[in-house]
């Protein structure tokens, strides 16, 4: 195995987990963060925390683990330092702005980097950081990017698959994020397994319709980046989205709930934009619309559920 120089942008939970996994695999890591996430506690060897993005120029592979609202700022700054030799892989569950632009497109637009990927699927910060068994998927058109990610973080316990459908992976990841939020609500409100199943299956069908309209391939939503990811949430991986959904369902304000989830959750801001996009394109998205209403506070979760279940049953 070749030793790589790896850059990580973002000192949040996922960024640190990626850095730890890379160090464990024997690579040298430069982590960009505004504050030192290790804050005095033991920082692994071969891991340096820096405050300037320019220091990442030596890296072969750069992981980007920042909320999608910051994607444009980070891409613009990174764009001054990177070129055609770099690979960029992000882990965002967000889509940018009203046109729901995938984060990869933001990087393509604002940096000279072309070899871009998205790490998605059931891979969690915990399994990366601690080396627990798990798996995930790398969406990228470039085989060398998937290879680099595997070399960087995959170990005997972490299986990483590849798909060429990058946009499908990104949209899938974002929409599953939103569904996981809905799942949190449903669990907290005590829905039975059958209702959960209906909600998730219909939600996934909706996600696929939206994703295809954004340029993804239908099959991706049935795979690791879609159902694979969602099953992990249903199976109880207690990811931040589910925790946030639960907290909101208990009637906590968004601010309090977010603190309880202790992570930035993209689903909160994305629901309305997806619903508006779907309306423009004439796509039926009852679950997303319901989520958007609940998050806006215009409807209570219970009313929404009843409304959803009352919908006319059609052929599927």
């Amino acid at each position: 195995m070749t030793l790589m120089r790896i850059g990580v942008v973002g000192g949040g939970g996922f960024g640190v987990a990626l850095a730890r996994a890379s160090v464990r695999a024997g690579h040298v890591v430069t982590l960009h963060s505004r504050r030192d996430p290790f804050g005095g506690s033991a920082r692994p060897e071969r891991l340096e925390v820096v405050g300037e993005l320019g220091r990442l120029a030596d890296a072969e592979l750069v992981f980007v683990a920042v909320p999608s609202v910051h994607a444009e700022t980070i891409a613009t700054s990174l764009g001054h330092h990177l070129d055609g030799r770099h690979y960029v892989v992000h882990v965002s569950r967000g889509l940018v702005g009203a046109p729901l632009e995938p984060v990869s497109h933001v990087f393509r637009r604002l940096t000279p980097v072309r070899r871009i990927g998205c790490l998605a699927g059931p891979v969690s910060a915990a399994c990366l950081a601690e080396g627990h068994p798990g798996g995930g998927i790398v969406g990228t058109e470039f085989p060398e990017v998937a290879d680099a990610v595997r070399e960087a973080i995959a170990g005997p316990t972490l299986r990483l698959y590849q798909t060429e459908d990058l946009v499908g992976t990104e949209t899938s990841s974002a929409l599953v994020g939103l569904l996981a939020l809905a799942l949190g609500y449903a669990l907290e409100l005590g829905f039975g397994p059958s209702t959960l199943s209906v909600l998730m299956t219909r939600g996934m069908a909706e996600a696929a319709r939206v994703g295809v309209s954004l340029g993804g391939d239908e099959h991706t939503y049935a795979g690791m980046a879609g159902f694979g990811d969602l099953l992990s949430a249903v199976a109880g991986d207690e990811r931040p989205e589910v925790r946030l959904g639960r907290a909101l369902a208990r009637g906590l304000s968004l601010e309090h709930a977010a603190r309880e989830a202790s992570a930035y959750v993209e689903g909160v801001v994305i629901a309305r934009r997806i619903q508006e996009h779907a309306a423009r394109r004439g796509i039926d998205v009852p679950i997303t619309e319901a989520m958007a209403d609940v998050l806006d506070g215009t409807t209570s979760p219970r009313e929404v559920l009843e409304k959803l279940m009352r919908r006319k049953v059609r052929r599927e």
């Binding site: 001054h80 055609g84 072309r114 085989p143 060398e144």
Partner: protein, 572 residues
């Protein structure tokens, strides 16, 4: 009578070359294509060598490859039942019988024979004398098509006097930069494709603007017109036979095109593949052969040769399109996608041309060719010296894109990915660089009205409403005024381009103009006027012209028209 004329046609459409006693002596400032004939044998050899190499590296057994190509060819020729079938079917049949019994050496020989046959059929010719003739004749030919009234009565006056085509064909874009780039690297023009006239118009535009001539792959069906065939063959066009399905042939084409670009021959590809049946600007581009430019760049880099490649997204915009009727009909029938060859469209029928000339006497039409900003194979902008630029204006080395761990490498999968991404970049450039013409804008407002007036029916239902929907002049002018206002604002923001008239004229004058332009151009009447209302006589043609507006429909619509604009936008 049938047989001799067919024989003549067959003879005429075979690639004909003029005899040459002394080889052409190149001059220092000649574009590379001028010495193509001297290099041709060398190129054919190189292409054949690469095909054998690729076949060996893919570890496919030779007898499988040979059987496959023979099988595909026999099947095609048996269906074709034409002169070509009579000539070659025997060869393939006898080959297929022998392959099983051949030694490995004999198989390699057969492989070489077949690839050489194919590559020689593909390879073009470039005759500087024909080029010189064409530079004088083409302007008149184009003038004839666009404004026949101005053709000189006496054909012997061809080549003298003012050339009216200069008024009819406008060329826009960074032409000085392109001239400079043509000297430091290889230009690859990738234009939109709506008419068979495109290659002629673009070829002429390059000539007139003192840009270097290009080689390009022309569909074999274009070679059925003897005059067109003669010029194309001798001006560097190579022949692409879309009927041949064998992957062997596609390999030959790809290798040929790669070698040509590697050697610095400026090239032209229509990345949409065929003419846009719908009239829409192409949105999804697979790039096809244009993708070979990415590989060519990588090949050169691996050999240590730093020869940049510049893609030039180009839009070719017509106020009126000769083949519109066949194209839109084809699209509505959904057959356009599967059909590779429209032998009997307006372009190949001589009587249509004649009728066309006669009818056209007083009508003006125009073509605007717009070159977009050149980009490197990875979608980066370039400066006049040919350096690739990052978004912040920093010069970057395009070679880094084909490197892995600091070493330039060949990787077909990687290049395919770059090509797909480039397709998206080119498609976005098309959208920005499309020059909207009055005919398209007026057709859009009328078609939007048709959509509004015919709720809850599909496109096919709508195009059957012949002569039933009218729009009052006043309403038409008012809506057109709003659309123009928005388009002009969009042009100011760099989202689209407008023709001179669309940019400056008032709505009523534009409508008058379009009504006049449509009269007599097509066999079918598109619009008529009665009692102060404009009647849509042929919704299909109206759709064809308005389809160019498709990508902008939502942006030019006011709130009241937004739902109808969305319906139109969804057609794309």
């Amino acid at each position: 009578m049938q047989a001799p004329s067919r024989a003549i046609k067959r003879w005429l459409t075979k690639p004909m070359r003029l005899p040459r006693l002394r080889p052409y002596v190149p001059r220092p400032d000649d574009p590379p294509i001028f010495v193509f004939n001297q290099e041709r044998d060398d190129i054919v050899r190189e292409v054949v060598r690469r095909m054998s190499e690729r076949c060996a590296s893919e570890r496919r057994s030779l007898d499988y490859v040979l059987n496959e190509v023979a099988f595909e060819e026999i099947r095609r020729l048996e269906q074709q039942r034409d002169d070509e079938a009579r000539d070659s079917l025997g060869f393939w049949r006898s080959s297929v019988r022998r392959i099983g019994k051949m030694s490995e050496h004999e198989r390699r020989e057969l492989f070489r024979t077949i690839s050489e046959r194919m590559v020689r059929d593909i390879a073009g010719n470039f005759d500087p004398r024909v080029y010189a003739i064409a530079t004088r004749a083409v302007p008149h030919l184009l003038t004839g098509i666009m404004k026949p009234g101005s053709l000189p009565e006496d054909l012997s006056r061809l080549g003298s006097g003012p050339i009216a085509v200069d008024d009819l064909l406008r060329v826009e874009g960074p032409i000085d930069a392109l001239r400079a780039l043509g000297r430091v690297g290889t230009l690859v023009f990738v234009p939109t494709h709506s008419s068979n006239l495109d290659s002629v118009a673009l070829g002429y535009a390059l000539m007139r603007e003192d840009l270097p001539p290009v080689v390009y792959g022309a569909g074999k069906n274009l070679f059925t017109n003897p005059i067109v065939s003669f010029f194309m063959h001798n001006l560097g066009a190579y022949r692409v036979d879309r009927r041949i399905r064998a992957s062997f042939y596609k390999d030959a084409l790809k290798s040929y095109s790669t070698v040509m670009i590697e050697r610095g021959y400026h090239s032209l590809f229509f990345p949409g593949g065929t003419r846009s049946r719908s009239g829409m600007v192409e949105k999804k581009l697979k790039l096809g052969l244009a993708g070979t430019a990415v590989e060519a760049f990588a090949q050169n880099r691996v050999r240590g040769l730093h020869r940049p490649v510049f893609f030039v997204p180009t839009t070719i915009n017509y106020g009126l399109v000769l083949e519109a009727e066949t194209l839109i009909e084809d699209w509505l029938k959904e057959s356009g996608r599967a059909r590779y060859l429209v032998e009997d469209d307006e372009f190949s029928q001589l009587d249509r041309w004649v009728a066309f000339f006669r009818k056209l006497a007083a009508v003006e039409s125009a073509c605007v060719i717009r070159f977009g900003d050149p980009i490197d194979p990875f979608g980066n902008g370039v400066d006049v010296e040919g350096r690739s630029l990052a978004i912040d204006g920093r010069a970057i080395d395009p070679g880094t894109y084909v490197m892995r761990r600091g070493v330039a490498q060949l990787d077909p999968k990687r290049d395919a990915a770059y090509t797909r991404e480039l397709g998206q970049v080119v498609a976005r450039a098309y959208e920005r660089e499309t020059v909207l013409m009055a005919t398209q804008i007026v057709s859009h407002v009328l078609f939007r009205h048709l959509v509004r007036e015919t709720p809850n029916i599909d496109l096919f239902g709508r195009v059957r409403h012949r002569g039933e929907i009218a729009m009052q002049r006043e309403a038409l002018h008012a809506e057109l005024g709003l659309v123009l206002e928005r388009l002009r604002a969009m042009e100011a923001r760099g989202e689209v381009r407008l023709s001179e008239r669309a940019r400056t004229w008032a709505p009523d004058a534009l409508v008058d103009r379009v009504m006049r332009a449509f009269v007599g151009y097509h066999r079918k009447t598109i619009l008529t006027e009665q009692d102060g209302g404009v009647i849509i006589e042929d919704p299909a043609l109206c759709l064809y012209y308005q389809n160019r507006m498709n990508a902008y429909a939502e942006r030019v619509a006011d709130d009241a028209n937004l739902p109808f604009a969305r319906e139109i936008a969804r057609l794309g």
